[in-house]
């Protein structure tokens, strides 16, 4: 048998198959294979007044008709009397990676004359998903893979006024950022010039800071120096100013997604025009797993602790859990 240097000193080969040294990094390959086989789940919620382009943006993000409006052919443009929560799921696949994408739409939010407490049904929906997961998790005979309907990310659409956040925006984000990852975006950003956009963003960041609102990526959840460096750069850029479109146009010989106007064509994926590409990269290409991890290991755990404490008040004191954690889920 032939010999080649290796950690064992020899590379052995038997008849046909090579049984040479296998390193423990082979475990990673097994994990990847398992992950690919199982597929992934992602649940995104979109919140914002009607007309801000939420459905279009979802379609643009996933380059398919995944939004509520695309699916329900008879969807009316009427504003509902109360806030509705509508979930649409799709199985999508790319390069062998399968994903179950659920888009949760919230028509009616912020559209009424009196919008007091309009965050309540949304808060309840989010907590209901945590509850469903908890129930399955503590079951005596539980499923091998607990179906995950928890909201991983809530994209909040800010109207492009150019001035500052509205009281509704502040109120909503302040409450919801405690239970879910919020990603604020400036909708229909093609209304703003670059200067107006930068000014608006700075103003928004100031107001978020002033109100103690922690949007994704939250500073306190940075895992290490590498993460912090990347996330700091992101925190300096949010909220992303986005434009959505599912129409393609011919630009310089290429077919691109965009909006065609008399004064030019806005290319959605061109970072000189808008920040859609950054949003897409953040949500999908680089931070998707992290978004899910924060949801399951932080937001869900906080819900669980509160829920378990409700049943056993003795525990709260023995555990010494800080009070503000318990208050987070109150509406």
């Amino acid at each position: 048998t032939a010999t080649v240097g290796g950690p064992y000193g020899e590379k052995a080969s038997g008849p046909g198959v090579d049984f040479s040294y296998v390193g423990i990094d082979a475990i990673l390959e097994q994990m990847r294979r398992k992950a690919m086989k199982q597929g992934f789940e992602l649940n995104i919620m979109v919140v914002g007044q009607s007309g801000l382009g939420k459905s279009t943006l979802m379609n643009t993000l996933f380059k398919s008709k995944v939004s509520r409006k695309s699916v329900q052919a008879t969807a009316q443009e009427k504003i509902p009397k109360t806030i509705e929560i509508k979930s649409i799921s799709h199985d999508i696949e790319e390069k062998g990676v399968r994903m179950k994408l659920t888009v949760i739409d919230t028509p009616g939010f912020g559209d009424q004359i009196n919008n007091e407490n309009c965050w309540r049904p949304i808060m309840k929906f989010i907590n209901d998903q945590y509850e469903a997961y908890l129930q399955e998790e503590i079951n005596i005979n539980r499923k091998k893979r607990i179906p995950d309907s928890r909201v991983h990310c809530c994209i909040y659409f800010i109207p492009p006024t150019g001035h500052c956040l509205r009281p509704l925006d502040v109120e909503f984000m302040r409450r919801l950022s405690k239970v879910v990852n919020i990603v604020p975006v400036i909708a229909k950003a093609d209304t703003l010039t670059l200067e107006e956009r930068d000014f608006f963003k700075k103003k928004i960041r100031e107001e978020l800071r002033a109100n103690g609102i922690d949007v994704y990526p939250q500073k306190e959840f940075d895992e290490d120096a590498e993460d912090r460096m990347i996330n700091e750069k992101i925190r300096e850029m949010i909220p992303f100013a986005v434009v959505g479109s599912d129409q393609e146009y011919q630009v310089n010989g290429r077919r691109l997604l965009g909006r065609k106007t008399k004064w030019g064509t806005i290319e959605v994926e061109n970072i000189a025009h808008c920040e859609f590409a950054y949003l897409r990269d953040l949500l999908i290409r680089t931070h998707m797993q992290n978004i899910k991890d924060i949801t399951s290991s932080i937001h869900y755990e906080m819900y669980r602790v509160r829920r378990l404490n409700e049943n056993n008040t003795v525990v709260a004191h023995a555990n010494g859990m800080p009070e503000h954690h318990l208050a987070a889920h109150e509406m």
Binding site: V17, A26, K34, K95, N312, A318
Partner: protein
């Protein structure tokens, strides 16, 4: 910066500007990156009579010395000896991947003249790890749960007999529903090739006959390459593995090999024609993930549902564990009868559990149960947990 992040992650990445390309195909790479950061934990138990070469084999498998200060007791000391449980942990790192391997040794197994009860200690240990995990998983602070559950048990069979001994059968039947059992024929250089094949067949027949459930390697997936499929076939056909272990370098045929020097030749540990050592090693590494999964999804879940149905009862060595908050919730939701209130304070993370155990609790028979362990060892050196029962 997204450009940087994207290309710093591994894996083939098609041109992102391909029309219609969304990019969630990068998800497995994100998961991969997280796994590398986290590292892996694996617990391997070895069971077999003294002198079957268990320690040598374990050292050979991972090219380490887990037992530097070892003292082998004489026959007189062995008479009264009960089975001990000794866990040793070592951290191995290769190509940036960290593995925290715990080997649980069971000296004293099968040594006593009357080995009637020699495995109840082992079963208790396995159950205790499940119990501990269940307790941690049901607790309030779940950020740092340590998984000490036994993922795999190598059971060493003597090559001197004609198959399984009654103790072998009894033991494997007692644990096959709690842990993945991998039978191993020890000191296989006692056997000729023909004898080895005959013994393997005999053992497999007896395993069948007695309804023993050993760990089954999953078949290769249809999308794997041919080499991997062939390798899996060869591995499956070689069970139980007949192995020889050694940490000595011998000069043979002009090169240094690990082996055993006899007047009639050299047995090479890493020679596939001499024994199944390499196959065992490859089986363990390439199925580490699956072994953990089966432990989690099958053995642990069985334990958990039994345990929850039984109620907040004693663990097998008589120590009453406090009710976890999640358990209380389960009872309420499924209208199970709650057990009577517990004596001890509720303790919620493993640190506190350790302290309270040492101070406040004495189990049955006046024996102290002390886990002198703590969280992750900071240095890649050996740590010993000694559990005395």
């Amino acid at each position: 910066i997204f450009h940087l992040i994207r290309y710093s992650t591994q894996g083939q990445f098609p041109n992102p500007e391909t029309p219609g390309y969304v990019g969630f195909a990068n998800l497995p790479n994100q998961v991969h990156r997280k796994s590398v950061k986290k590292g892996f934990e694996f617990t391997l138990m070895v069971v077999g009579e003294s002198g079957l070469g268990k320690s040598t084999l374990i050292n050979s498998l991972f090219l380490t010395d887990l037992y530097p200060e070892r003292v082998i007791p004489g026959a007189a000391e062995k008479i009264e000896r009960t089975v001990q449980i000794e866990a040793s942990t070592v951290e191995i790192e290769e190509r940036g991947v960290k593995l925290r391997l715990t080997v649980v040794d069971t000296p004293g197994y099968g040594d006593a003249i009357n080995s009637q009860d020699c495995f109840s200690t082992i079963i208790s240990y396995i159950d205790d790890q499940f119990e501990r995990y269940l307790h941690d998983e049901s607790g309030l602070n779940r950020r740092h749960i340590v998984d000490n559950r036994v993922h795999c048990c190598f059971y060493f069979i003597s090559p001197l007999g004609h198959g399984l001994k009654p103790l072998d059968v009894q033991f494997m039947k007692a644990i096959h529903n709690k842990v993945n059992v991998v039978p191993v024929i020890a000191k296989a250089d006692t056997l000729t090739l023909r004898e080895s094949e005959r013994l393997k067949r005999r053992i497999l027949d007896e395993i069948d006959e007695h309804g023993i459930k050993i760990y089954h390697l999953p078949d290769a997936e249809s999308d794997e390459d041919e080499d991997f499929k062939e390798q899996t076939r060869i591995l499956k056909a070689s069970i139980p593995f007949a192995v020889v272990g050694s940490n000595q370098q011998i000069e043979a045929k002009g090169k240094k090999v690990r082996g055993r020097l006899y007047p009639w030749g050299v047995v090479e540990v890493e020679n596939l024609e001499h024994n199944d050592f390499l196959k065992l090693r490859i089986m363990l590494i390439t199925h580490m993930q699956d072994l953990q999964e089966v432990t989690q999804d099958l053995h642990y879940e069985n334990f958990r549902s039994d345990r929850l149905k039984r109620g907040g009862r004693l663990s097998s060595h008589g120590y009453i564990l406090p009710l976890s908050p999640a358990y209380v919730l389960v009872c309420q939701l499924s209208s199970l009868h709650l057990p009577p209130p517990q004596r001890t304070n509720l303790c919620l993370d493993t640190h506190r559990v350790t302290k309270q155990h040492r101070n406040a609790t004495v189990g049955h028979n006046g024996r102290h149960i002390c886990y002198s362990s703590e969280t992750e060892p900071k240095h890649p050196e050996l740590r010993r947990w000694k559990l005395s029962y």
